[in-house]
């Protein structure tokens, strides 16, 4: 179920940036992209405050380079790539740190609370971070597998495999779920 960049062609969230569009003002770019970017990163990260941190840091990095980013063919893709890199960097550090951690993290507590309220969150929580990245970038943001691969820094074929695994995992949970 791949869509050809619908997210970049205008949608109900107020996005009006066609592919290749040059947005002069960083503020306009921020307003156009913030809500969707934050939503996507929250689902991927599974933690509100951490997603907010990543989103702000990613926007700041784009802002610092706005002189060159604004002229890029895909400034939105660049934003997501920066966000994914920041997320992975945090994930890697947290992974190292959590090996030594004694107490359960707040992330799990928060996730448990949200999971209890919504089945969609529970379904997505069973995926690995990479599977979640792949399915959000393709299924939610509408990138093709090859485009998602470029954005995530992996091969398009790998994206297809990850999306396939994600769908299978979700189906398995749905199949075993009495709801």
């Amino acid at each position: 179920m791949e869509r050809q960049l619908p997210a970049l062609q205008g949608d109900e969230n107020g996005r009006d940036l066609p592919p290749g569009a040059v947005v002069d003002s960083f503020e306009d770019f921020f307003i156009a992209e913030m809500a969707r970017f934050l939503g996507a990163m929250t689902v991927i990260v599974q933690n509100r405050s951490e997603a907010e941190e990543i989103v702000q840091d990613a926007f700041l990095k784009v802002w610092e380079r706005w002189g060159s980013v604004r002229g890029m063919e895909e400034p939105v893709g660049y934003l997501y790539r920066v966000g994914m890199n920041l997320y992975r960097s945090r994930l890697r550090r947290a992974g190292v740190a959590l090996r030594h951690a004694v107490h359960p993290s707040r992330t799990r507590d928060e996730l448990a609370g949200v999971e209890a309220r919504d089945e969609a969150v529970r379904l997505l929580a069973v995926l690995t971070p990479r599977e979640r990245e792949a399915i959000v970038v393709t299924g939610y943001l509408g990138y093709s597998s090859d485009e998602a691969g470029r954005l995530l820094g992996i091969k398009g074929d790998t994206v297809r495999v990850l999306v396939g695994r994600a769908r299978s995992a979700i189906r398995d949970v749905q199949g075993g779920d009495p709801e």
Binding site: E27, M34, L38, T107, V121
Partner: protein, 404 residues
């Protein structure tokens, strides 16, 4: 059939992410820039992610020919650095050459550059330290035979050693999952300091500050502190009885200059005789750099009053245990200081190059065209100052009679 778009949109609604306003982003950006400015002004040198690898040299200070009228010249580095926003992180003298370390953030990691020069005028690029793309070196120094760099890579905090500036040996430090911010050679013993872990969440960390030491550079052990754990160490100096480490025990939260002393470099004690702050220093004080002249120890830094106004300061000690405070004249905002052979001190910082005969009264020698200078290194007949914002280099010949 799973409608992924609908599924994820439902999840987004369930998470109800908070709005991030453009104003909030602007505030965050201003805060980030303010932090950078404060760092440059030398009061916040000792923050976790940007330790400046301070150079400290124990040098004799004579009493003739003070280097009070040095003429500084900007070095043309065009063509040696790929990006204008690259910055130098450290500088040292090794094997008759000046060596400076530059580090550049790139999209998915970082790139490291080492430059070398015999005359401080003509520079060439050395091969980079071969490591993974996440490697970042904070500081480089020398024990005479070897170049010694410190930083981190994907495996954690590390030291890199080289005898030829071409091939490097990586040495991981036990317990250093984080970053090694600084390295020094003091009285023949090697020291490195940094973090043992990472930020687990925005408000939680499992990391602590640590000090490692080695005699040969190959085998390192973690130093032990009794009384109080190590804080963010800024400078490590020789004393008549051993060593003193000066830093901030609170990691910048409630900054204060504090000392740990050791007779063997391995076992350290939180020292009761702490560098004093004036009563007006209600927002604390921090250390930027220390210098050992052979006769006394001088630690430069500053403190902030209730109005957030910062004041430059100097603390002096003969033994590393008993310290006196005095205000600094001239507002030099020092980041690095060298005791110049022949007499006096040369300091660099946010406002160029400064000179002082006694460490207290400072006069500006050049404003370095607005470049924030972070490191000084002294060779056989020159001083080299390198910039941290942006990358730049300045050099001066040391007058005859004031050289080694």
């Amino acid at each position: 059939v799973i409608d992924e778009r609908e599924l994820i949109e439902r999840a987004v609604r369930a998470w109800t992410p908070a709005e991030v306003s453009f104003e909030a982003l602007r505030t965050r950006r201003e805060r980030k820039h303010r932090r950078a400015r404060i760092r440059s002004a030398a009061l916040a040198i000792v923050i976790a992610t940007a330790s400046v690898g301070l150079l400290v040299r124990a040098m004799r200070t004579g009493d003739d020919q003070p280097a009070s009228h040095l003429t500084w010249t900007q070095v043309d580095l065009n063509g040696l650095l790929p990006r204008h926003h690259e910055r130098f992180w450290s500088a040292t003298s090794w094997d008759g050459e000046y060596v400076v370390l530059a580090q550049q953030n790139v999209n998915d990691g970082s790139a490291m550059h080492l430059l070398a020069s015999r005359d401080a005028v003509h520079w060439r690029e050395l091969p980079p330290i071969e490591t993974d793309h996440r490697a970042f070196a904070f500081s480089v120094t020398s024990d005479g035979d070897r170049l010694i760099a410190c930083g981190f890579d994907a495996k954690g905090g590390a030291i890199w050693l080289s005898r030829d500036a071409t091939s490097w040996q990586r040495i991981g430090l036990a317990g250093a999952d984080g970053k090694v911010f600084g390295v020094s050679v003091t009285q023949g013993r090697l020291f490195a300091w940094g973090q043992t872990g990472y930020l687990v969440a925005p408000d939680r960390t499992n990391s602590e500050m640590a000090l490692w030491t080695s005699v040969d550079g190959q085998t390192w052990m973690r130093a032990v502190s009794t009384g109080r754990p190590f804080g963010e160490i800024t400078t490590l100096l020789p004393t008549p009885e051993g060593y003193v480490a000066v830093g901030d025990p609170n990691g910048g939260a409630h900054p204060a200059p504090r000392t740990w002393t050791s007779s063997d470099g391995v076992h350290w004690a939180w020292d009761p005789g702490q560098p004093p702050l004036p009563e007006e220093a209600v927002l604390g004080g921090q250390v930027a750099v220390g210098v050992a002249t052979g006769r006394e120890l001088l630690v430069f830094g500053g403190w902030a009053d209730a109005n957030h106004v910062t004041h430059a300061a100097i603390w002096r000690s003969a033994d590393g245990t008993h310290w006196t405070y005095s205000p600094v004249e001239g507002s030099p905002s020092l980041i690095d200081v060298q005791a110049v052979e022949g007499g006096g001190f040369v300091g660099v910082g946010a406002t160029g190059v400064w000179y002082s005969a006694d460490g207290v009264a400072w006069t500006q020698q050049t404003d370095a065209n607005g470049c924030v200078l972070g490191y000084l290194t002294q060779g056989s007949n020159s001083l080299v100052a390198v910039g941290i914002q942006p990358a730049c280099a300045w050099t001066t010949m040391i007058p005859e009679g004031a050289t080694r």
